[in-house]
Amino acid sequence: MSMADTFLRWRYRVIPDHLLGEILAKRWIDNAIPLLILLIVIAAFGFAIPGFFGLSSIANLLRQWGEFSLLVMALMIVMVAGGIDLSVGSTFALGNIVALALLTVGGLPWPLVVVLTMACGAAVGLVNGVLVGYLRLRAFLTTLVTLIIVRAIVDMLLLTYSVSIASTFIDSEAWYFLGEGSIFSLPVSVVVTLVIAITVHIVFSRTRPGWSVLATGGSRRSAHNVGIPVRRVICMTYVVSGTLCALAGVLFASRLGGAGADTGVGLEIAALTAAVLGGNSLGGGRGSAAKAVIGSITVMILVNSLVRMGVNSGANSLLLGLVLLGAVAIDVRFLKNKHKLLSKVYVSPTYATLPTAPATTAPSPYAVNDRLQGVELIGLGEIDGPEDVILDEDDNIYAGNRVGDIIRFLAPDYSRQEIFAHVGGRPLGMAFDRDGALLVCIGGMGLYRVTKDRKVEKLTDETNRSLLSVTDDSRLRLADDLDIAPDGRVFFSEATTRYEMAEWSVDSLESRGNGRIICYDPIRGTTRTVLKGLVFPNGICMANDGQSFYFAETWACRISRYYFDGPRAGEVEVVIPDLPGYPDNINRASDGTYWLALVGMRTPTMDLAMKQPGFRKRMARRIAFDEWLYPNINTGCVVRFDDAGTVVETLWDKKGDNHPMITSMREHKGHLYIGGISNNRIGRLKLEGMDPAWTGPDNYWRKA
């Protein structure tokens, strides 16, 4: 290995390129820019204003922040559902005056006042909600009008009650505690706001109503199509918004105890700026309590600091306007370009070097022949992509297809087929368990069992989350092949944790150890990852010793053996390090050896490309998806190897017209049944010199 190669290998081993794409794909990355802005603002004003971090300064700021943040939260909730509520400022003012009027003129006890005021806010929200949600008016204009109307109502109330409010003394300790008291040295309003923020966060991230709101904002029509009552959801967001605004008004009233004509004027602009600055998307679907909190702190600091620095109101609104513009511009551009950026950086190839490929000419055990010439074809043109094939004791053939069915070809002549079960997803590897139920790895779903009476059951679709993985790898994305140990434990491979089923071929460009092998224990009901960092682990087959299994790593072109029991438990041993092609499924042969499908043969170009991650990265960024250089998966063969890793024989289809594209094969009663993931047939080949009575289920389960 040359110096340059060594350097390249270390460079790709040490710098985890793939993390960038994974971090960008996380939802919380949306908070990064708002948080950065917040830090800049804090740093700038902390530097410019002496005593900025002083205790009194912070306490004063906090109390105001509690009320303001509630408004931002209210606006955020509406925005997430795809609307907007400009009436927050007016509703806030309404809450303020109503609370004071009820308390002084009405003489009601304070808890009743709080409830009634919030009900009043909810009523305003209900008007907005009915108009925007049910009548489908434009949210912006509608809430603008309610802003004007509510403001006019506030003005009328002011004319009537302001004198009596100002002249009455409120005799209630609890009321003043609301405005001036502290809990754990935090102002009451802050505590209230934090409690609500946490509630909102939990509702949005963990509960069905919250998901409905997010879904409605994300795509209104899709939400409607999946059965979410879109109109009601939108209406409810306005009701909640109105209630929160009124609550903020109550807090404001308890703090200042006065009603003025300018209460809450222009607050909607500040709240909108805060919401957008925090990263809540204008079109809906993207927003959180954390974003509202970040945005509200930023705007609060901006506005207050400008006032303290003594600049006139013009500069204040100039800055607010510009900040709003900048924030919306970033929001719009970021939303528009995030997926472009992501698709550019997500594919991150790494350095991979393969041993020299053995020859496929005469003396080599891989020498090309034409032994698949005699394959009979079953269901030609009637089955779409049987990745794996398996036969039961009654000689019926089972195979998955591309639309998520498990098809059964009926013995003896296999001219009739039926849908054995519809499972959805992409059925891949299969195996029969002791009871004769069919276990299937389903790409995009996980590990499933189809019982003899065709009942589909989920066995597992998640495993333990890796501690340091950026993406949540607890969900199974691409369960590929499985086999069952004598004690009933199921070992199955997940080919890659970075790509979905539809993009499995992109993983070949990376050639990183993105895959893993997982063990499902039916007795304990647990699922645990046993081997990590495998390069597209594919086929799995129990060795005859019952203590280990063979597994194929497709892009690494090697077969390894893993001992899960016995004296060598936990060891991994490479059995065949240098296959001439890309291995797929492995299955037992009747004479104690193993069948192995090579889905495609290696090419010198691809081998060279594997050593040049920079080239592959450039390719992924510069040219279209369908013009990338992929490994060949069209010409392959079937190989038989023994426990020592020696290749015993190879079966080829020389012309490639009878049965090309092989991903699996299964021996059954002296015949070999062949499947291929992008093939349209199942092949059947008569084997010479193999036990004509041997069947897989019998070999696995009767012998013991």
Binding site: G82, G83, I84, L131, L135, R136, L137, R138, A139, F140, L141, T142, L144, V145, T146, I148, I149, R151, A152, I153, D155, M156, L159, R221, V265, G266, I269, L272, V276, S281, L282, G283, V311, N312, S313, G314, A315, N316, S317, L318, L319, L320, G321, L322, L324, L325, V328, A329, V332, R333, K336
Partner: protein, 324 residues
């Protein structure tokens, strides 16, 4: 009922305005005098001029919430410049230039940065006001100085006995009508408003058209500002923070210009202006409290939007992301 269904909103509103006129004429003494009618039209002519500016933008499927702020600040800046001794023509050119530049920024933000028009112009309105207050002048109200006296004619003058604001309103309407109906750019404007994507594919310079529509609106806004200032010999910049701009939208929507763009003509604006004029005039004569007037206006605007939504349902296919 079927006849009613076939009426356009414009006709309904016109009918409503006429009915109100008749009712007021019969019930309110002093409503149907030449003086009051001239007064009525005069009082709403500024609203009408702004309505034309807003209408053009709305027909191009935009909205300009910075219109009133722009009008106030550009004219106030012009007056301020005059008071510092700058000759009137130069000050006017500078004021107009400021308006056009702001319109250009609005258009750029909407067309190229792709910020929803509502937000771009809302934020611009705040920013323009702040800019004026911080850099140009320190007072709320900027008064006429002797250098600007020539402008007073726009407010006080008459042509053949018709007050100048009405004449300006009529002129603006006529020019806008000719532009919208008989020029290629006017056709483009309507095409862009009707279906932005289709217009763009057909080869209409969609983005430059959006730029143009905001610049035209800014220009008309400047004219409206001059008339406003001339009528009272001062410019009160507080109007930028008021709800005046919503009255302008009221005029446009009431007249029957759908907010989804592409539909409507100058005629609609005239009709909408008339109804508002009659209403305001009537309420003022009846001595209804200002806040109650606001509520009534709000309810009418709300009704207008409801009717607009029912008559011009939003097209989900051509609706834009964030089009709220």
């Amino acid at each position: 009922m079927r006849r009613l269904g076939s009426l356009s909103q414009e006709q309904i509103v016109f009918g409503l305005a006429v009915t109100l006129c008749v009712v007021f004429a019969l019930t309110l003494p002093g409503f149907l005098t030449t003086n009051n009618i001239l007064n009525l039209v005069r009082s709403v002519s500024i609203l009408g001029i702004l309505g034309v500016a807003m209408g053009l933008v709305v027909i191009g499927r935009g909205i300009d919430l910075s219109l009133v702020a722009l009008m106030a600040i550009s004219v106030a800046s012009t007056l301020q410049l005059i008071s510092t001794g700058l000759p009137l023509p130069q000050a006017l050119v500078l004021g107009l230039g400021f308006s056009l530049a702001t319109g250009l920024i609005n258009g750029f933000l909407v067309a190229y940065v792709e910020i929803p028009a509502i937000f771009a112009t809302l934020a611009m309105g705040t920013a323009i006001y702040g800019f004026g207050r911080y850099f140009m002048f320190n007072l709320d109200v900027i008064y006429f100085t002797p250098g600007a006296e020539a402008l007073r004619w726009l407010g006080d003058g008459t042509v053949l006995g018709i007050p100048a604001p009405i004449v300006v309103f009529a002129l603006v309407c006529a020019i806008a009508h000719l532009f919208l109906r008989y020029t290629k750019a006017g056709g483009y404007l309507r095409a862009v408003g009707d279906n932005y994507a289709a217009a763009r594919i057909t080869g209409v310079p969609a983005r430059p058209m959006i730029l143009t529509q905001y610049m035209i609106a800014a220009m008309i806004g400047f004219v409206a500002g001059l008339v406003t200032a001339a009528s009272v010999a001062s410019m009160n910049t507080r109007v930028a923070n008021s709800t005046y701009v919503y009255d302008v939208i009221l005029v446009v929507v009431l007249g029957g210009i759908g907010l989804s763009g592409g539909r409507g003509a100058v005629r609609n604006i005239v009709v909408g202006t008339l109804l508002i004029g009659v209403l305001l005039n009537g309420m003022t004569i009846m001595d209804i409290q200002y806040t109650v007037q606001n509520i009534i206006k709000g309810v009418i605007l709300l009704t207008a939007i409801v009717i607009d939504t029912i008559l011009n349902p939003r097209d989900e296919q051509t609706a834009q992301q964030g089009d709220i």
